[in-house]
Symmetry: none
Subunit: 264 residues, 2 copies
DNA sequence: TCGGTTGTGAATTACCTGTGAACAGCGGCT
DNA sequence: AGCCGCTGTTCACAGGTAATTCACAACCGA
């Protein structure tokens, strides 16, 4: 559990930090607002913030954070708030609002509840291998294989593949893909998804020529669905040079990526 | 939004129910605990419960409900609770805990926050295909089909169709169509909607000749409603299983040569 | 009949995606 | 520490697709 705390109430923070530490949570304390991209980099599960520390910027900060990091649990903890303020904060995207003074244990319980809520939805992380076409996607290896050969996917490439494959047959918009793989909202004009789709396609084709897995939907996004392209796509056909041994982890595409194994 | 309230505080419930009603929420009030399978049958989004109403059974009730309905938002709202009780409730699976007295608006905001958080985790699995006439509108594909054949709609065309079809039978003004599809206000004299309606009509007619889906209301806007035209329609494609009209009485004229399927 | 509204097709513009490559950050290795 | 290779990000360009605009014809209602 990774948590950031934005607060200047040193007594409260000290007591809380002690408990968090005892519970095994990773906790970072900040004394002022930080740029959203810095929060992104922290890969947090939750954020605890005393909105009064941020002054009048507080509301826009809250709004910004909730917009950029929709999966982040946001709990406000401040003194002497009014009903109207609490309602405003919650409607802006905060997940809970606690009034100080409060007990650290309750703060933790509330943060747990928020994070639990968020996780329960994607709890279906069944780590069963998934086969599609010639592909075998193994979450336990963070890797995809074709007849035992590794595709040499990087982490991002694999996660992209996984997100697409888990929704086999369904079209997913770029924004959603980005959100699920990168963990935060996609900036306007970001082409990362396209670039990774290209890399993925290239690596998959190298291993599984004659199959198409990722289909483009113009103006929308991508769809994963194994399709045999060539009529009689017998593995005998596309063989200008790919006669390879069957146990080498395959040094991926020729462009640059010879990863783990020193072949010669 | 479907909500159940378990509480005996008639004053609180009455005021709250009024607000919920005004906000368009469906609300069911109960004065005691109910079997979990009854709660399941209600297909709720959230449950608001005064745990003191249930007496000593409260905790086990909470535990049971959270176990059986992990997707249900559970908010406890009661008087004079201790930190220990709140922590216990939250750890048992409650999503929020409010102390009475409280403002109905805050209750609503907190329930919204809970449900919002829950929804975000879950994928958009709530997208059911919509059938109208011979048409099948599939949001997961951003596409419409007739007997399995894609209509080849672009994104804008599809969204226009979706907006119209979701309000089946109702006339929608151009300004509103534009607002919902394009996302911002229509400029005066903009003919985009008309142009897209034409494109849409053409593509739909190509696949589903003999049906009219989009009707013009002069000086107002458009209305979606599948209607079988009586003109001799020669379906240029295999029409094995025409979908039945949703609710159109239309005891259709038998067409000897076009595909006829008397649905009895 | 007339003025305004809608249907239609084509031309123009804007936007989207594929693609290759350059750049920067990070970690491992010597 | 310094070097090197991998990885992720960003950029620019090309080719193609879709959206918008425009002019005119057909249409509706008063």
């Amino acid at each position: 559990m990774r948590l950031a705390v934005i607060d200047t109430d040193s007594g409260f923070v000290r007591v809380l930090a002690k408990r968090l530490d005892a519970a095994g949570w990773e906790c970072r304390v900040l004394s002022s607002g930080v740029p959203t991209d810095e929060l992104v980099a922290m890969k947090l599960n939750a954020l605890l913030v005393d909105i009064s520390v941020l002054g009048p910027e507080g509301w826009s900060f809250l709004d910004r954070v909730c917009g950029v990091l929709p999966d982040l649990g946001v709990v406000v903890c401040t003194t002497g708030s009014t009903v109207a303020q609490r309602v405003r904060g919650l409607r802006l995207g905060a997940d809970d609002w606690i009034n100080k003074p409060t007990h650290p244990e309750e703060v933790m319980a509330r943060i747990e509840a928020v994070v639990r809520r968020r996780r329960r939805g994607r709890a279906n992380t069944d780590v069963g291998p998934l086969v599609a076409g010639e592909l075998e996607i193994r979450p336990d290896q963070f890797q995809a294989f074709v007849s035992g050969q590794s595709a040499g996917l990087t982490r991002r490439e694999f996660e992209l593949l996984q997100v697409l494959a888990e929704a086999e047959g369904k079209v997913i918009e770029r924004e959603e893909i980005y959100q699920r793989v990168w963990g935060y909202a996609m900036a306007h004009g970001d082409r990362s998804v396209d670039v990774f789709v290209r890399k993925l396609r290239r690596k998959l084709e190298k291993l599984s020529a004659g199959w198409e897995y990722i289909h483009t939907h113009f103006g929308v996004g991508y769809r994963f669905e194994p399709e045999e392209t060539l009529g009689g796509a017998t593995p005998a056909e596309p063989a200008p040079e790919p006669a390879r041994a069957a146990e080498e982890p395959v040094d991926a595409v020729e462009d640059a990526e010879s990863a783990a194994s020193p072949p010669a």
